[in-house]
Amino acid sequence: MTDSQALDGNAIAGTLLEVFGGEMTTAIGTCGHCGARGPVAEVVVYTRAPGVVVRCRECEGLLMVITQVHGVFCVDALGLVELQAPA
């Protein structure tokens, strides 16, 4: 069981919309650490860190970090090998 402070990808639908310009919770992501594939809505999300931390539900590997300073987003999608936008 994950940390009770953890949310999921649904919680950052608005942030992802701003960053990617479209609905992303139904996008399919692939984890670069373990290869797990699944909808963005199912990832583990921490919003209490400075910025948003996104981890893989299978292996807890770091997928993405999103920070915003003075209205400018910085997106580090270092752990995602693929992100397939919804059709």
Binding site: L7, D8, N10, A13, G14, E23, T25, T26, A41
Partner: protein, 240 residues
Amino acid sequence: MNWQPGTVLELIEQTARTKSIVFDVPGWSRHRAGQHVDVRLTAEDGYQAQRSYSIASAPEDRHIELTVERIDDGEVSPFLADELLPGDEIELRGPIGGYFAWEEAPGTPVFLVGGGSGIVPLRAMLRHHRATASTVPLRLLYSARSLDDVIYRDELTADAAGDVRLTLTRRQPAGWTGYGRRVDRELAADVCWPAAERPLVYVCGPTGFVEAVAGALVSLGHDAARIRTERFGPTGGETP
């Protein structure tokens, strides 16, 4: 998608910890049941705080309704629950999200499982089901600590509510005939359609609740790909 002003029309006390806020949002684009709205508050010094809330109203309802649970050390919820008055205007952005959304369509049964304030998006689905006179079998299982903690209590216990089952995990009133325990494997098996009927399942609540219910359903043979989940953060109270 732009921020747009919403005017508070009405505030409805749901339980000791939750309040519904009804907004008039001119030019609102129709949402799907289960979607969210982002709320942004701006302080006089320009500091902004933003939160995402599930929409409690059906797409067919005239106004947008949110239901907010007061989190005592929260930054946004105490303001929304305690300070907001009819006529006030706040910024909204939406509808947002697409994964945890349900639209009336012919097909397999739909099983909704909510814990605590996780009922909110499921209530929108229940209302949508009723508003469209859907013939899709739909059943709601709602877990709350006590009858006083049941959000939308009058609506959910009315005869017209549809197939709604309650489980009260901590305290049951005298003569209670509903369930009185947490949603475990046995309770899920009792209430949900068999896995062979391939129901579409929506589970929403605190993280621990969602994982326990989804785990129980998977152990009963349900396809994980047909179980959609949405996890709420710590609710300030005990687990439902």
